[in-house]
């Protein structure tokens, strides 16, 4: 990765963190749909990135969000999980498509591929987050609705931001 790319991606991560901490934390649709836009910072990292760095960056991002929302380590653990699983999904998709270079992004992958790449990871991240936050098992249905609604909301926002960003 060149220095220029490194700076570009760090700025991207900072931008998503800024969005999360200042805006998205206040936005909740119908008391169900939350948006955790910051995970786009992990999802949109280059596909050939060193996995060790990706894990450490994911932990750092999650931890910063944790500090700002008093959740101690929930965001960190969920984000590390998707950072770990991400290369497997990219690899699998690349194989099934028959491409020789792994790339991430709505332009490089195409709309369908992109959604089928981000949605499972977002769903996983949100499930882990909300299930950890759940206090008692009686809230399971309520939590499941929250997971679904939030995953949809986050996916739509990431796609929108990705469509309007020129890179």
């Amino acid at each position: 990765m060149s220095l220029r790319e490194a700076i570009q991606y760090s700025l991207m991560i900072l931008l998503y963190l800024f969005l999360q901490i200042f805006f998205m934390r206040n936005i909740v649709l119908f008391n169900y749909a939350f948006c955790f836009i910051y995970i786009a910072g992990i999802l949109l990292l280059p596909a050939d990135m060193d996995r060790m760095y990706a894990l450490l960056i994911a932990f750092a991002i999650g931890f910063i969000v944790d500090v700002f929302s008093n959740t101690f380590g929930m965001h960190a653990s969920a984000t590390v999980l998707i950072a770990y699983l991400r290369p497997f999904l990219i690899h699998y998709q690349m194989k099934s498509r028959g491409a020789e270079r792994a790339e991430v992004g709505i332009r490089a992958q195409g709309f369908g591929q992109f959604v089928s790449y981000i949605f499972p990871l977002i769903l996983l991240h949100h499930s882990m987050l909300f299930l950890m936050e759940m206090n008692n098992f009686g809230m399971i249905l309520y939590t499941l609705i929250r997971i679904g609604a939030s995953a949809l909301f986050t996916t739509i926002l990431i796609i929108l931001l990705e469509l309007f960003s020129k890179r």
Binding site: N26, S69, F72, G73, A76, L81, Y142
Partner: protein, 280 residues
Amino acid sequence: MLQLVDFVVRNRFFLVFVLLEVLSVWLIVRNNTYWGATYFNTSNYYVAKTLAFSNSVRDYTKLNEINADLASENAHLHAQVARLSQTNATQSPAGYVPDSAFAARFTYTVAKVVDNETNKANNVITIDKGTAHGIKPGMGVISATGVVGKVRFCSEHYSVITSILHSNFMVSSKLIRSKEIGYAKWDGKDPNLIDMIDVSKYTKVFKGDSAVTSDQNSVFPPNIMVGKVETVAVNPNQTFYNITLRLATDFRNLSYVYVVQNHQLVEQENLKLRTIDPKK
């Protein structure tokens, strides 16, 4: 040995992954350790400053409601002063002389809400007063309209409050008309509603009755509003009502709160401890 090194090198990603997961779970479980409580939450000075900045914009748009709340509180206090000046210690028998230190045991500190959450399963609030202003963990927090929560962590200038919308928080409350005492506890769903548990079903409970903090509270002063009875249900298998209260405080618009300090709390708690440990 070489095999072990080989194993570590081959699985280094997985090992780092497990390490980081264990670290974060440890953070969650041990969230009460000193350094965790001091630095890694919104009572951290820089974090709170950032949130205060982002909150200041929203605050400006809410000035109307804040004004209305303060005006209504003023009216309420006037009424209380008038009532108190007429009758002293109404419920006590004739011979009871209230101790003046006991009557004046609560003092209040005004604080501004820096960060507020209502939508999670466990909600906390950050305020802009800390140990420098005499605030300590365990103090009660009320607002102009009712009960808010209890102080959890303090830094020098900021504190984190466990809101009443938190799974580990209960308030001993009393229904005014039926004079029944129970606990108010949040079920984790709607931030406007709260459950009241442990109210015996052999008394009559009225819809619209007010629930206030009871006299058996060491953290909150008595007769602070908690909410109004919204629904009452009876489960035939149980001896308790299922009561839902509509909260008096609108947590979404919370801007100023009062931290309640009970000067006799330590004395009261120490006395209680003696009953637990009879050797001393």
